[in-house]
Symmetry: C2
Subunit: 323 residues, 2 copies
């Protein structure tokens, strides 16, 4: 059982990362208005959030700019239009997917409003991740590495990946429950594995959870109780499929007085409710429970949602017969 | 950290209690059709659920029968219309609230389709609870006791209440998070307190969670990992305010092959979706997060919901200014 003093006090090393534009952008193809993004930036500032992730640094050679909003590409000049020189203590991050970005799109940190590059990888693309990490680090950035889909990884391979990343210049190693398949007891085990490697190499550990089984918040607070410091959240849980850990739940839980739930409630009230009214759809529903429970990629559930199907029983039959 | 063998195996002592009619009835004043109740009974049977709670045994002297559906009163003859002689291994329970029921409405178990009486009490009405427990036990029933609103109780008084109940003939002591205010780490502490008393007196421990902070399922699986055997759930989380632990999530988690998620999905698909379409409203929303976070009774949030308000920021201001 965790120490009660830890429940009442707080760990100053904890960092909150707002991933609304990045993971939420997967729901609306990154079409957020500038008004929305500016209001989000101000909400994060007032709520005491530590990092705001603007989106992806996607390759324009691989992705058609006419088919996505600008936060798929997160150019320095577009970020500057929102934050100016960002003379605040809210840091700015973007995500770079191994194999789906160009190193040449990442300028020196000295010339950029971006503070941190978050490299997203699978276990089988770790060398590509290390290449991106070294490049970003050499340009002056803080660097995270998100290892995705670990509920599908072999433990031996995951441990080997963590060892390689431990020896790289990355700052933070992220536990990512891509399929929303994990229970808190499993998160505790991954936290144990990650924090052991992190302690050995002087790294930090983070968590990015999905809400397929209504456990994104529970898994995040399990992790922070296990020594995980970097916590991803999104307003109103906005994110692919069942979405993420809700920022408003997380800020209500954290005890550090620098965090403030009130601006988060205001932002959800005004802006996230509006997105839902405009027909943007995300969040927990039975089809996401099913893919999470079956430890599958949510793509079939996302398709079910897009087609506005509601025949849950038939969907479950389809999922199980594919096993 | 919990033993990994416990995560893969299962504890045969675990019991699942369907509280859909009882806690869900608080949302629609117990107006369920007989078709719904029959389908629920069959779903529970096929899903391997252990107990089905039909509703309250409310006093007709205190409550007007014209203002509630029949499951507010849960008469033996109404239950028999659904289950006949219930020649199944699904047991039947009803809830009796201290101060809001008549002992004379509870017949001998030999003459009733009911197997278990669940006595609901506050810490300050424990003698009334013991009186009901002794009465029900003398009539041959299994008996639970749900101590409500313990997040508002003084620890010393709660321990004294548990000692008194330990010495009573009750079978199961229930942890109840009435306000959805508790985090899993707090559930672990209550589980510790309850299981200690239970071991001393040969009782079992149960949990009834609310979903104000999207933690009803997480708190329930935390508890079962801590030695709590009796688990309340409702289909589609139907219950007062933010609702309860979802049956379909719980059945997906439990490893005992007697449990089966498929009938639960079918029931939610056909019947719970229909209730929602008919305008019955329950479930997680910002107003319930707020009362949960502030450890308050959900009545203001329920009123907010009834009035179809959506000014969450103003509601938060109201709640905080009342503190």
């Amino acid at each position: 059982m965790k120490e009660i003093s830890n429940l009442i006090a707080y760990r100053p090393d904890v960092k909150v990362v707002d991933a609304t534009l990045r993971d939420g952008g997967l729901v609306n193809n990154f079409y957020f208005t500038d008004e929305f993004v500016k209001a989000l930036y101000l909400a994060n500032l007032r709520a005491g959030v530590d990092y705001m992730e603007f989106g992806y640094k996607a390759s324009t050679e691989m992705f058609d700019e006419d088919k996505f909003g600008k936060w798929k590409f997160s150019r320095d000049e577009d970020i500057r239009k929102i934050v100016g020189e960002n003379a605040t203590d809210l840091k700015i991050s973007v995500m770079a997917d191994v194999g789906r970005c160009e190193k040449s799109d990442i300028t020196d940190r000295a010339d950029s409003p971006i503070d941190m590059i978050r490299v997203a990888t699978y276990v089988n693309t770790i060398p590509g991740a290390v290449d991106l990490i070294e490049d970003a680090k050499s340009k002056g950035y803080e660097v995270c590495c998100n290892i995705m889909a670990i509920s599908h990884s072999l433990e031996g391979e995951l441990r080997a990946a963590l060892e390689i990343l431990g020896q790289s210049p990355v700052d933070v190693l992220y536990i990512v429950d891509s399929y929303g398949a994990m229970y808190p007891e499993q998160i505790a085990r991954f936290a144990d594995m990650y924090t052991e490697v992190a302690a050995k190499y002087g790294k930090k550990v983070g968590i990015h959870a999905h809400n397929n089984q209504q456990l994104a918040f529970a898994n995040t607070i399990e992790a922070v109780g296990d020594g995980v410091d970097w916590l991803d959240a999104t307003y109103a849980s906005m994110g692919r499929g069942a979405g993420n850990c809700a920022m408003e739940l997380l800020l209500g839980f954290l005890r550090n007085p620098k965090y403030n739930i009130y601006p988060a409630i205001q932002f959800v009230d005004k802006y996230m409710t509006q997105l839902k009214e405009e027909g943007v759809v995300w969040g927990y529903d039975l089809q996401y429970l099913m893919t999470g429970l079956l430890n599958q990629h949510p793509r079939a559930a996302i398709q079910f949602t897009k087609e506005k199907r509601s025949d849950y029983t038939e969907f479950y039959r389809e999922m199980v017969s594919q096993e």
